[in-house]
């Protein structure tokens, strides 16, 4: 029979369905089952993690307050040309009176005042005093009467601000979070020097987290090495000591640091007693950066020790022996052969400690004073005290971005597959 070059044939199963289709069908059930198994966790994560983050992201740019409360004024302002330096026209002032009066009745106008006060101090008081005076204004001309009621309404900059913040979205929270603001004509400028705090705080947070990570590594490495090389019986005992902090309340640990470090605490008393420090020059070791660093290093140490230990445990002693037999002295053998193999543990411990430290909150709040607080303490402040959730959200999102950025750099430099958590 003459051979014919056959066209590439689609493989089929016995009943004639193409093999690929049939394979796909066979795998689909497995895929669905796998999906169903992770579904509860996915739902939980979505509800407790992704959704709140989404909400926070939205809040950091969301700006509907002014436009909903002043729903007459804001659309009219859109037609006003703020660059000429002229005040808006009569109709805007009439709308203002109506909006403020209605807002006062609904108890919403105060919020607008607070919101605008974030951008420019003084706005809150204008909105607080205006409603009572506006009551008397029952007919036009509105412009003069309104300016008479509060001369702030005669200031073009205030109108520019209302026009700008009448838009549904704003960048002003993010700008505030990096010590910037929009000036009257909408270009970005620095905050006045006394209001520049967040950039410094971010830098301080990063640097203190790095310092804490470094200290944890410095203290954790020898301990992990000891744990990994001692016989199991002894190392288990030591391990319990390392884990002990996990079983003690965070508050107890932090407050005991206060007892140890404060001016009339254990350390100062000892130093005074042995005459190293005079009684009127007791060292301030708490409510400052020292306090934060010491307490947080103590709290985060296990997060460094555990991954390091688990990596070191897997390094057989024969590597060091091989290095020695090849002529390397103990220090060199350690540096060239042992250390490089602990890098996955250092990476994992380092990134773990750093990321926890960067968002840490209770300890710096308790022992940090003013000099030792971190960015998270300000996020907390804006969430609970000043109620400026937009700014809190912007700070939080920047922090998140920062961590992701560092994570990517880490991945590029060390490689995330090199990380070993246990």
């Amino acid at each position: 029979m003459a051979s014919v070059t056959a066209a590439p044939e689609v493989m089929v199963t016995a009943d004639g369905t193409p093999l690929k289709v049939s394979l796909h069908r066979a795998l689909r059930r497995n895929k669905i089952r796998a999906f169903l198994l992770v579904l509860p966790l996915l739902a939980f994560l979505g509800f407790t993690f992704l959704w709140p983050i989404g909400v926070m992201m939205f809040r950091s740019v969301e700006n509907s307050l002014v436009s909903t409360v002043m729903y007459r004024t804001v659309p009219l302002l859109a037609q006003w040309d703020e660059t000429t330096g002229d005040l808006p026209d009569e109709a805007v002032f009439e709308a203002l009176v109506q909006d403020v009066t209605e807002g006062f009745k609904n108890r919403t106008i105060g919020k607008v005042g607070t919101r605008l006060n974030y951008e420019e101090p003084g706005m809150s008081s204008i909105f607080r005093t205006s409603p009572k005076k506006f009551k008397k204004i029952t007919e036009g001309p509105y412009k003069e009467k309104v300016i008479e009621a509060h001369k702030g309404w005669g200031d073009v900059d205030k109108w520019r601000l209302i026009k700008r913040e009448g838009r549904p979205f704003t960048s002003s929270y993010y700008l505030a979070a990096i010590d910037r603001k929009l000036d009257n004509l909408g270009s970005i400028t620095s905050q006045p020097a006394e209001r520049q705090i967040y950039v410094k705080l971010f830098i301080r947070t990063l640097w203190m987290s790095a310092l804490i990570t470094g200290l944890c590594l410095l203290l954790g490495f020898p301990i992990s090495f000891l744990l990994a090389t001692l016989p199991t019986k002894t190392s288990n005992l030591l391990m319990i000591l390392v884990l002990l902090p996990f079983w003690t309340s965070l508050l107890v640990r932090t407050t005991s640091w206060i007892a140890i470090l404060q001016q009339h605490g254990v350390i100062n008393d000892i130093l005074v007693a042995i005459g190293l420090v005079s009684d009127d020059a007791r060292l301030g070791m708490i409510h400052n950066q020292i306090g934060t660093v010491v307490a947080m290093t103590h709290i985060l140490l296990p997060f460094m020790v555990l991954p390091l230990y688990s990596v070191m445990k897997t390094i057989p002693p024969s590597y060091m022996r091989a290095a020695r037999s090849l002529g390397a002295n103990p220090a060199l053998a350690f540096w060239r052969v042992y250390m490089p193999q602990t890098v996955p543990g250092i990476g994992a411990g380092g990134i773990l400690v750093f990321i926890i430290a960067i968002g840490y909150y209770i300890t710096p709040a308790l022992v940090g004073g003013t000099k030792g607080t971190l960015i998270s303490n300000f996020i907390d402040y804006h969430m609970r005290v000043s109620l400026n959730w937009g700014l809190a959200a912007a700070l939080g999102i920047i922090l998140l971005g920062l961590i992701l950025f560092l994570y990517i750099i880490y991945d590029r430099v060390v490689g995330i597959d090199n990380m070993k958590l246990g």
Partner: protein
């Protein structure tokens, strides 16, 4: 290898070792390793072979006694100053370095020049036929290739002495045999002294100049491979090396070189090697291939006994037959599958015979 040194590169002198202060793991070890020699430590698990090697390499200290390297006592010399090459059982190749970097490591710590290092590394790679693999990580090599890298690394800095602790233990049978020859050839070509640890007797017999048979922390016998096989000095060595028929009996007459041993009522003529004298118990050792089947009682063999065939196992090139002789039913005879060999049936009785010189009277 300068001539002003003695012929021995290593000397163990009355070395003892205990890990726990209760039990001696190595008991009074005396051992000399000649220059250029391939000496194997052979013994069952736990007999103290690795311990001896570790003391020599400097990772364990002798509890008592002295070890000399080139006639210098080395008990207080740290491992990295001993200049001994070593191959570990799991190879211990540094996983974060490439093959070439692994080989360069011992040269770098000796502060050699860059070009010299490169040349030596290349030569070492060529020696183990891995020239193409310099840039690979150890994890990207097969077991046999890793093993060759480990050998090359132990030799690249040109030590006079190389220690190997069961280097072939993790390889399959074919690869193991191939590597045995390769290591043997490297040894012959370079003229280094090697101390090799194994518990595989055929490996020991193939490779070594001399074998030290360890048991229970004591060297039972130290001889050449053929000596060990042909002339075992005690029952342990006889049964550990090769196959061996053991017959337990009592010495009834000792007459110079030869003696007569009564086994289950039958007198057997044997060679006196290591028995306690007339009246004492002894173990007779007889290799299965030294027994002739189907002999006549015509005086050509001093020992001729009737044997009952218990079991026949056909193994291709030879036939193993289990007989019942002199009250021992585990008496094995190997018969070569040559033309015209005797064909036996199970249950059949036949006469077997052996020479007195092939039957060694050892300790009980």
């Amino acid at each position: 290898m300068s001539s002003e040194h003695s012929d021995y590169i290593v000397r163990f002198e009355e070395v003892q070792k205990s890990y726990d202060g209760v039990q001696l793991v190595v008991k009074n070890l005396n051992l000399d390793v000649s220059r250029g020699e391939f000496l194997t430590m052979l013994g069952p698990s736990g007999s103290g072979k690795t311990t001896c090697l570790m003391m020599l390499a400097g990772f364990e200290t002798a509890t008592h006694g002295e070890i000399y390297l080139d006639d210098v006592p080395i008990n207080n010399v740290p491992p990295h100053k001993r200049g001994i090459g070593m191959v570990f059982q799991n190879y211990a190749l540094f996983p974060h370095m490439t093959v070439a970097e692994n080989l360069a490591f011992p040269l770098e710590v000796r502060n050699l020049g860059k070009s010299e290092i490169e040349a030596k590394v290349q030569r070492a790679l060529d020696m183990v036929r891995l020239s193409e693999f310099g840039n690979r990580r150890p994890a990207q090599l097969s077991g046999g290739q890793q093993q060759r890298v480990a050998v090359a690394r132990s030799l690249v800095f040109e030590p006079d002495l190389v220690l190997m602790d069961e280097p072939l233990g993790a390889l399959d049978k074919n690869l193991r045999e191939e590597m045995q020859y390769e290591i043997k050839h490297i040894h012959e070509n370079l003229g280094v002294s090697m101390v090799y640890v194994t518990h595989d007797q055929s490996e020991a017999l193939t490779m070594s100049n001399r074998i030290a048979v360890f048991d229970d922390g004591i060297i039972q016998q130290l001889s050449t491979p053929d000596d060990l096989y042909e002339r075992p000095m005690n029952a342990f060595v006889a049964s550990f090396i090769g196959e061996n028929n053991k017959l337990n009996g009592r010495v009834v007459e000792s007459n110079g070189e030869l003696c007569t041993v009564e086994v289950d009522g039958a007198p057997i003529k044997a060679l006196s090697v290591n028995h306690g004298g007339v009246g004492q118990g002894t173990t007779l050792s007889l290799r299965p291939e030294r027994v002739t089947v189907g002999v006549e009682d015509d005086g050509s063999f001093p020992n001729v006994f009737s044997a009952k065939t218990e079991e026949i196992i056909y193994l291709g090139d030879h036939v193993r037959t289990r007989f019942s002789v002199c009250g021992h039913d585990d008496f094995i005879v190997k018969m070569p599958n040559a033309a015209g060999h005797i064909v036996l049936n199970e249950g059949e009785s036949i006469k077997v015979g052996w020479h007195a010189e092939d039957c060694r009277a050892l300790d009980a």
